[in-house]
Amino acid sequence: MPVGSERAPDPQRWFRRLKPLVFLACLGPAAMLSYRAMTGTLGAEPIDEITGVTGQWTLRMLLITLLITPLRQLTGWHGLIRWRRMLGLFAFSYAVLHFLTYVVLDQFFAWNFIIEDIIEHPYVLVGFTAFILLLPLAFTSTDAMVRRLGGRRWRRLHRLAYLVPVLGVLHFWWQVKSDISEPAVYSLLLSVLLASRLRRPQPRATGAAPPATPG
């Protein structure tokens, strides 16, 4: 594996240039959803469809965000780090959409039913916990917040990025009635991503710039 092998000439530039494209790509699923909503092609139960799509993309974006660090280690493309914060914030954005779909479209602010649902149904509770845990991550994603917290504390806090998708997969697994193949695939991918963290000790970041771990 070309870990630590010679770098291509100034690859940083490429990741910076490509970033807007990645941004647009991440908007794709939301754009597609809007398009289907406007053309009335979300099927018989549009709310159900929107919940499913936004839930799936929250989980996918969380996994893609976790892919950055092992990918950097494998390829030596360290410029990938420039995308990570954006990817994580997209995961958060899809989670917000997913949660709003539930609160506004599915339940229409029926708070008594929402609270009962969260308390009584483990899969909702787990999803809700995952969402709550994403809030401090999104909140501390700015450079200023990284500086304020200091790299160490910031990194420790952002280890939640490992826990959230675990809860996300559990949330999915728990709601499936009999066919576990989809959550099983997510679990498998997540396990590989988490296991890749065990392989090598994380080097300690020293500067105040957005630290390279955890990813």
Binding site: E45, D48, L105, F108, A110, S178, D179, S181
Partner: protein, 320 residues
């Protein structure tokens, strides 16, 4: 409670406009097989459409619900039919070319003599009528569907059940060639095949319980359980077993597929009951497919007047 209006059965616009339009489309003169023969060109263009059986001049049963119908497109594109797929959108596609003729149903067990019927023979013996029923899925959505069917009781009575016939057991076709959801997958199958369901004999003989052979005046599409399925409108949808090949009258209470799959979540009776929550979903409310707001779920799906007597003296908590 935020939403605590009295049960709102919509006193409706008797019949949806689309429905009239569809009725107007219906071909004159019954048996559509004849259409297929008479118009081979049409048949080649669109075999499924051309060969569709239409039911003419259906009598609408008094037992019909007077509510706005769920559009045909929704009824036929949002289906829980794990024999094809666990995704509700996929059965419509995967069952598009499902061959539901010829088809036989064997009735056996505690009756005078076991008998095998061709489905079209059954339709001749027991002329179907239109029954508009509410359908409530355990996943908290519901529809209003104009079924075409006949009372299961008429069939059972004609076969002289013995005194040991206490329950009725049903079985869906098991044919992984034609039902791709039955093929084993990487992570194990989704359910134990064949799909089984059961009713107590008095439930099976109840006038509301029908064998449906069509909806919206036409033969059942594959994704809705072609060519013949059970419809028990006061129970959660999974009781209304699809694509039936065998009916057995038995003495012991059968174990239905979902009960075997998750005994803590699904029972034998599965009567719609807003007060008994499924461990994963509240059953207090439901979304009528196409609506934005949820509505309260009614005991026995609004059929309490007709069926509550069947369960006198039983603990309703045991009736999930």
């Amino acid at each position: 409670m935020l939403i605590n209006k009295p049960a709102d059965l919509r006193p409706s616009e008797i019949t949806d406009r689309r429905y009239f339009e569809r009725r107007r489309e219906l071909l004159k003169g019954g048996a559509a097989a004849a259409v297929g023969l008479a118009a081979p060109g049409l048949l080649a263009l669109s075999p499924a459409a051309a060969a569709k059986i239409k039911f003419e001049q259906l009598k609408r049963s008094e037992l019909s619900a007077d509510e706005e119908l769920t559009p045909y497109e929704s009824v036929t594109s949002y289906n829980n039919f794990y024999e094809f797929s666990t995704d509700k959108k996929e059965p419509a596609e995967l069952a598009r070319n499902f061959k539901s003729r010829p088809w036989t149903i064997t009735v056996e067990g505690e009756i005078g003599q076991p008998k095998t019927f061709d489905v079209d023979e059954l339709i001749k013996l027991f002329p179907p009528e239109e029954r508009i029923y509410r359908l409530r899925c355990v996943e908290a959505w519901s529809m209003v569907i104009p079924w075409v069917g006949f009372p299961l009781g008429n069939l059972i009575r004609s076969l002289a059940p013995t005194s040991r016939a206490k329950f009725v057991e049903f079985e869906t076709l098991h044919d992984p060639e034609r039902m791709p959801g039955q093929r084993p997958s990487l992570f194990g199958g989704s359910l134990e095949w064949p799909y089984r369901e059961g009713l107590r004999i008095d439930e099976a003989m109840h006038p509301l319980t029908i064998l449906a052979v069509g909806l919206y005046g036409e033969e059942l599409p594959g994704q809705n359980g072609a060519p013949i399925r059970l419809v028990v409108p006061w129970k959660y949808g999974f009781k209304s077993i699809k694509s039936i090949v065998r009916i057995r009258l038995v003495e012991q209470q059968p174990v239905n597929t979902w009960q075997a799959q998750a005994p803590g979540e699904y029972g034998f009776f599965a009567n719609v009951n807003p007060d008994v929550a499924h461990p994963r979903w509240s059953q207090a409310r439901e979304r009528r497919v196409g609506d934005f707001f949820k509505r309260p779920t009614l005991p026995f799906n609004g059929y309490a007047d007709q069926v509550a007597d069947l369960y006198r003296g039983m603990d309703p908590r045991k009736l999930y």
